[in-house]
């Protein structure tokens, strides 16, 4: 069978080579998985295919004809649909406009609003966004919803024009139920002849969805094989070149004294007051469906936003400290890693060094706030090696790091600030399996040194692997709390659904 799309001998270097002699064949109707560690070059490869970057050398063929896209617009015209890792959405436009942006239906010089609504609504129903009015401004959506909009956007191209659908980590912010729905759609499309490239760090998903999987390591294709012949251990071995063992601490551990007290905290979005206590050497997980209010709870605890009632108290040996703003929180050793890395995390265009030290600068400065650059350099280098951040060094701009490595920089930022209360919102979103385990181990280490943690994650496995206790939020209410050993996946899910009447679309 001839390939729908083929790459032969593709090379690309930035400062250093990123892709080396990459060759790939994608058959019609095949879902081709692409996995690899953070920074392996997956997104770079995809950007080249989509006309966003130029390769140094390559032979690309689409349906047997040479294909060299000069721009994204040219690639689009050839039928290459993309759901980008870094979301290509426009905050000031509505959901429907975003979905159909590349091909807004027109009649007589104007946008045909009725058609837009019909087409968008259909796609939104498909991806599980039925509950959102199509005219909602995109800025009002949560990250997970945005990711679904990005998917709907990629699927908006008419079936007769679309030749290749490329999905770069399309489910990284979704719950597993949402992800399953997406996978069903993709399989359906593939059955009717569409070719798909699917990039993800969720290896089980890759194995269950893809018929062929390629592993990229350091810019080289290590291995291409049918999905059914592989296990996730095989993939991990190929990706990292070594064995990894997931370790689940099953025993119930002894936790320390109370460290953080949340007392009847509520705000406008959060009418039901929530109370909560976290201890030293404890990891508390927060589970819930998309939109359950998990991110908002973390933000409220951290003192962000306005109109809060109730209080958040940090228990210190010297006396309680009231947390009423983000800066008091940070000053007293609380860390927040927000969910949306791009808009709330990184300082784009700035060095890894600035990004990793900005929260802990006082430790690097002497009198009158003067920064001692030797200390700064040393601290940054240490962080890079401690977290195994793949970069050219402290002076590289953070935008040029792969997504997963940017996430590590954010963790480094708070490590450097010596935080001991950690509020983590999807801390391993877009992080490869190896790094994820490394981050988990890092978090356990911190916990053993006495840190307190609150972790929001859409992956129940991540919570069950790490947490001592899991709190379940449902529709902005705390509905249940389970200690290690008491929980089961069924119980957690049932609790998560308990307050969401009639919103089953979210679960699929």
């Amino acid at each position: 069978m001839t390939a729908r799309f083929a790459i032969e001998g593709l090379n690309k270097s930035f400062a250093a080579p990123v892709l080396k002699q990459v060759s790939l064949q994608i058959r019609p109707g095949s879902i081709h998985g692409l996995v690899g560690e953070n920074g392996a070059g997956k997104s770079t490869l995809i950007n080249i295919i989509c006309g966003l970057l130029a390769a140094d050398s390559a032979e690309l063929t689409l349906d047997g004809k040479p294909y060299y896209p000069m721009s994204r617009a040219a690639a689009l015209a050839e039928g290459l649909a993309l759901a980008s890792q870094e979301l290509s959405l426009i905050e000031t436009l509505t959901v429907e406009e975003n979905i159909l942006l590349s091909s807004l239906p027109e009649s007589a010089f104007r946008i045909d609003r009725r058609k837009v609504r019909l087409q968008a609504q259909e796609l939104m129903n498909l991806v599980g966004l039925k509950h959102i009015p199509p005219q909602t401004p995109l800025a009002r959506l949560r990250l997970a919803e945005k990711q679904l909009v990005e998917l709907a956007k990629a699927l908006s191209m008419p079936t007769d024009r679309i030749k290749l659908l490329i999905l770069d980590e399309p489910t990284s912010a979704l719950t597993s139920a949402q992800a399953d729905q997406i996978h069903r759609i993709i399989k359906q499309r593939a059955d009717s002849g569409l070719s798909v490239i699917y990039v993800s760090h969720r290896l089980d998903d890759v194995l269950s969805v893809c018929d062929t999987v390629s592993v990229l390591r350091d810019g080289v294709i290590q291995h291409t094989a049918p999905g059914s012949s592989l296990t996730s251990d095989d993939l991990i071995r190929e990706m990292s070149g070594e064995e990894l063992s997931q370790h689940n601490d099953d025993e119930v551990r002894k936790i320390g004294d109370v460290r953080l007290r949340v007392e009847r905290l509520s705000n406008a979005d959060f009418p039901e007051p929530i109370s909560l206590q976290c201890h030293r050497r404890e990891i508390v997980g927060i589970a819930g469906l998309a939109g359950a209010g998990r991110s908002e709870l973390l933000h409220a605890i951290y003192g962000l936003g306005a109109g809060h009632q109730g209080k958040v108290v940090l228990v210190e040996p010297a006396g309680d400290v009231l947390i009423d703003s983000a800066s008091t929180a940070a000053k007293n050793g609380i860390a927040l890693i927000a969910e949306d890395r791009k808009s709330q995390g990184i300082f784009s265009g700035k060095s890894v060094s600035l990004n990793s030290t900005v929260a802990g600068l006082s430790k690097l400065s002497g009198n009158l706030g003067a920064i001692i650059s030797k200390r700064e350099q040393r601290a940054c280098k240490e962080l890079i090696s401690r977290l195994n951040i793949k970069s050219e060094g402290p002076r590289q701009t953070i935008d040029r790091l792969s997504g997963g490595n940017q996430q590590k920089v954010l963790i480094a930022r708070w490590l450097q600030a010596d935080s001991d209360v950690w509020l983590l919102d999807e801390p391993t979103r877009g992080v490869d399996v190896g790094s994820k385990l490394a981050i988990h181990n890092r978090l356990r280490e911190l916990r053993d040194q006495g840190a307190t943690m609150l972790i929001v994650s859409s992956e129940l496995e991540e919570l069950t692997a790490l947490c001592d206790r899991i709190l379940v939020l449902s529709n902005k209410k705390a509905v249940a709390s389970y200690e290690r050993g008491q929980w089961s996946k069924e119980k957690l899910l049932a609790a998560a659904f308990s307050e969401h009447k009639g919103e089953r679309a979210l679960a699929g």
Binding site: C50, L52, S71, R72, A73, A75, L76, L82, S84, E86, L87, S88, L89, I90, E91, T92, L93, E97, L101, S102, L104, E106, F109, R110, I111, Q135, K153
Partner: protein, 313 residues
């Protein structure tokens, strides 16, 4: 229906600001509520209006155009000289003036879009260069054109408003339509909000970023024609500082300087606020220092009122 109501609501606070201002002057001066005042405001509006339309579009695309004032003068100068020195018929002279504005816009656009120079600086350079050219073509003298060109500025009998005013109103409607109802408008907003995301969505951003500056140049050229029609002369010093008035009008009307957000109708209301303010202050006859103080306060108050919009809408 609902979307139209909410659109009205978006502008409501700024309309309230305008009404308050009118009320204030009505109380403070004797002859504010006369047709004379209305007429004075209507004849002076068009030039600022068309320039502000261009400015608003540029701001929405994420840029800025500091050169509009000088381009108005250049265009007026070209028209004056083409008519009086070269003896070309007025319509041809007018077209040449508009085209001169378009050329200035083209240079801005090419440098800002394809050469990727910061638009602020490119148009700042053009602010100087176009003014220099305006002096050159007019030999630094006011060129008297004559009553014939004033036809554009004089009320058309039966309608009661001038051709200039009708044209500028038509352009407001057209630009608002293009912005809200056509693909070009949506793309402009998309590019202004997040150029990278727009690129990933397959929009070729360069042509849009170039064209929006060309359009601003053309509209400034038209502004020059209207200015010349108003004065019956072309003044090489005309419209100094006009860029700040146009930006103020746009921002008062809800346009964001960060790009991606804006409304032509809002900007037009901003123009009305500025005109009413100028007229009212002149009729009150307060001293220059007080005029300055009040103008500053009103500008700040207008955005303060507008702030409520984002809070309650």
């Amino acid at each position: 229906m609902l979307s139209k109501l909410s659109l009205l609501f978006e502008e409501i606070f700024i309309v309230i600001a305008l009404l308050l201002l009118i009320l204030f002057f009505g109380l403070m001066t004797e002859n504010f509520f006369t047709t004379g005042t209305l007429r004075a405001i209507l004849t002076q509006l068009p030039a600022l209006t068309v320039v502000t339309i261009g400015m608003t579009l540029v701001l929405i695309s994420g840029g800025i155009d500091l050169s509009v004032g000088s381009v108005v003068a250049l265009s007026a100068g070209v028209i004056g000289v083409a008519f009086t020195v070269f003896g070309l018929p007025l319509p041809v002279a007018g077209l040449l003036g508009i085209l001169a504005g378009g050329c200035a816009g083209l240079v801005n656009g090419v440098l800002g879009s394809y050469f990727r120079l910061p638009v602020f600086i490119v148009t700042l350079g053009m602010l100087e260069a176009a003014r220099g050219m305006a002096y050159l073509v007019t030999d630094s003298q006011t060129v008297y054109i004559g009553a014939s060109i004033q036809a554009l500025s004089l009320p058309i009998s039966g309608i009661g408003v001038s051709a200039s005013f009708l044209i500028s109103l038509g352009l407001v409607v057209l630009a608002q339509y293009v912005l809200t109802r056509t693909v070009y408008g949506r793309y402009l907003i998309a590019i202004g909000t997040n150029e990278q995301a727009a690129k990933i969505s397959g929009i070729r951003t360069e042509p849009y970023l170039m064209w929006v500056l060309v359009v601003s140049g053309l509209l400034a050229g038209l502004g020059g024609l209207m200015n010349a029609a108003y004065l019956a002369a072309s003044d090489p010093n005309a419209a100094t500082g006009l860029e700040l008035s146009a930006i103020a009008a746009a921002v008062i009307g809800g346009t964001s300087l960060m790009g991606g957000r804006g409304s032509i109708v809002g900007a037009f209301i901003g123009v009305l606020i500025i005109s009413v303010l100028q007229n009212g202050l002149a009729q009150m006859g307060v001293s220059e220092p007080v005029k300055r103080l009040i103008t500053g306060l009103v500008i700040i108050l207008a955005v303060l009122i507008d702030r409520w919009r984002s809070r309650y809408a």
